[in-house]
């Protein structure tokens, strides 16, 4: 069947006529462009970015609000912040609590989540803490944190962790608990030790959901880092945002916000790389970024 349709296709092409049978390789717009087909995900990303930025530009030009700059103005502001180095100085500040908080949340979060998923009593002991943490209104907790830990790095790391950790812990615990029991029985029947059951069966089985928790956690951590800079002490990118807002330099404000979103996307892509390096089998069917 395939043989035959290929043959028709080939003869039709050699005679310079459009093929009669519909060829499989056509791009989004129905054109025969193998290169486009091969890079379809990338092309789609670029197209959707162009649509968003175009809409932004148009909205800025109407303008929807005097406080809403166009895309081009924002990019110009971003460029000037990049060349004068102020953006890098700002990120030097912002990245500290962000990276520390995310690392802590990732390692402790996954470990505690595994523990909760594996042991009933750990579930009983720890789950409520993280459920409350996830539900807590963070802005209300910030004054409390500042009272206890001051206005330094510690408080900001805490804010990042409070944002990032619960979803990581709860996703990990749920994923571990939902490992199909037949996998575990299979491992046991072939004499896997407890450590092997965890390392070779439970962890890989749970990894897709653990990583989706990490993605959510990392995104929440970004929100936490900016929130900390807006609510505790204005430093880093949070400072750019609040300062440029106070002087009505909206282009710079949007540039800063844009840059943090770009950084978050880069981070999430990095996370996916890590996932695919650690668990190659997860390569199937993930919608990323």
């Amino acid at each position: 069947m395939t043989d035959q349709s290929q043959r028709t296709l080939a003869t039709a092409a050699s005679q310079g006529r459009p093929p009669l049978t519909k060829p499989a390789r056509r791009d989004f717009f129905g054109r025969l462009t193998p290169a486009l087909v091969k890079h379809r995900p990338l092309v789609l990303k670029l197209v959707s970015a162009a649509v968003v930025f175009g809409a932004w530009e148009i909205a800025g030009r109407i303008p929807v609000s005097y406080a809403f700059p166009t895309f081009i103005e924002s990019m110009a502001a971003l460029w000037s912040m990049t060349v004068d180095g102020s953006l890098f100085v700002a990120y030097g500040e912002t990245l500290k609590p962000l990276v520390v908080g995310i690392l802590i949340s990732t390692f402790i979060g996954v470990a505690v989540g595994m523990w909760i998923g594996l042991a009933k009593w750990a579930d009983w002991l720890f789950s409520p803490i993280f459920i409350v943490m996830q539900a807590a209104p963070l802005a209300a907790l910030i004054p409390l944190l500042v009272m206890i830990y001051g206005i330094g790095l510690t408080s900001k790391v805490f804010v990042v962790c409070i944002m990032a950790m619960p979803v990581i812990v709860l996703n990990t615990a749920g994923a571990v608990r939902n490992t199909p029991s037949s996998f575990i029985e299979m491992g046991q029947s072939f004499l896997a030790s407890r450590a092997e059951v965890i390392g070779k069966i439970i962890l890989p089985a749970a990894s897709p959901v653990i990583f989706s928790g990490l993605r959510l956690g990392v995104s929440a951590g970004f929100i936490g880092a900016i929130l900390a800079e807006l609510k505790i002490t204005p430093t880093g990118v949070g400072d750019i945002i609040s300062y440029s807002r106070s002087v009505a330099d909206y282009a710079s404000m949007y540039a800063a916000i844009f840059s943090i979103i770009v950084l978050a996307v880069v981070f999430l892509n990095l996370l996916e790389r890590i996932e695919l390096t650690l668990f190659e089998g997860n390569a199937r069917g993930y919608a990323s970024d």
Binding site: E185, M186, Q188, F190, L191, K200, I201, F279, G281, R284
Partner: protein, 264 residues
């Protein structure tokens, strides 16, 4: 092609590889097995035949050491079972393949857990992958295989650890008829050539009569053995003629007559 299927006359004192004594198992309210006693002679294939939900998988898992009975004992080679062991390998009804692992890794997984070096276990696995007819699919992942192919991966995994006792839970249920018949023949020669004990769950009366040394008919839940049938005459026959043999046809009929009463 015809392969003589003659067997040395059974030894007077049949050697029992696996025995279950008054095993009972309840899941909460559900009483799956009640006071089940059954013996599995070494080097022979015993089929468990019974209605769905009667506790066949439960019995196999208890023998495998994956489940604990509420009462009663299981002995394998004279030693009471306290957990899984190297002497038993399981073919799971739901295949239990690791979706993130290739066919090769899945088949070699039992050996991997036993600490066999990678090159060695992959060589062994490759042989069994070829034996079950999956040569060329070593690098595929389970989701890329059909149901029958997945089942064969589970079969290859169990065979590759070279256990004395093979616990096979409906191992051919998802394969096509041609493959099924081929596997039945392969199974017969495996039983013939290797001194392994097979405990084989099936829903097919014909399959049970074709491959078994003894067939245990199980009652509906709570399950006990209602009857043991030994189509012993068939085991001397040529594989190609079994299905035409009067004893085969009579046994199939007899079992159907017995099972029919449960269905009605």
């Amino acid at each position: 092609m015809a392969m003589p299927q003659t067997k040395p006359a059974p030894v007077a004192t049949t050697d029992i590889a696996v025995s279950a004594r008054s095993v009972s198992k309840t899941y909460g309210e559900t009483e799956a097995l009640r006071d089940m006693t059954i013996e599995f002679p070494r080097g022979q294939l015993t089929s468990l035949l019974g209605p769905s939900g009667c506790g066949k998988t439960t019995l196999l898992k208890i023998i495998a050491g994956l489940l604990e009975p509420n009462s009663g004992t299981i002995e394998v080679n004279g030693k009471p079972v306290t957990g899984p062991g190297e002497d038993r390998a399981f073919v799971f009804q739901d295949f239990a393949l690791l979706p993130w692992a290739s066919v090769m890794r899945n088949v070699a997984f039992g050996l991997e857990l036993r600490g066999v070096a990678k090159s060695e276990r992959e060589a062994i696995a490759a042989k069994y992958i070829a034996d079950v007819g999956l040569k060329g699919f070593e690098k595929s992942f389970p989701h890329e295989l059909s149901g029958g192919m997945r089942q064969r991966v589970g079969l290859a995994r169990a065979l590759s650890v070279n256990a004395d006792v093979l616990l096979m839970d409906e191992p051919f249920s998802a394969v096509d008829e041609q493959t099924r018949r081929k596997f039945q023949e392969d199974l017969l020669s495996l039983v013939q050539n290797e001194n392994k004990t097979f405990i084989f769950v099936t829903h097919s009366i014909e399959e049970a009569v074709y491959v078994s040394d003894q067939i245990a008919l199980l009652l509906p839940r709570p399950s006990r053995v209602s009857e043991i049938i030994r189509p012993s005459g068939l085991r001397m026959k040529d594989v190609d003629n079994i299905r035409r043999d009067p004893e085969y046809l009579d046994t199939v009929d007899r079992i159907w007559a017995l099972l029919r009463s449960y269905v009605e």
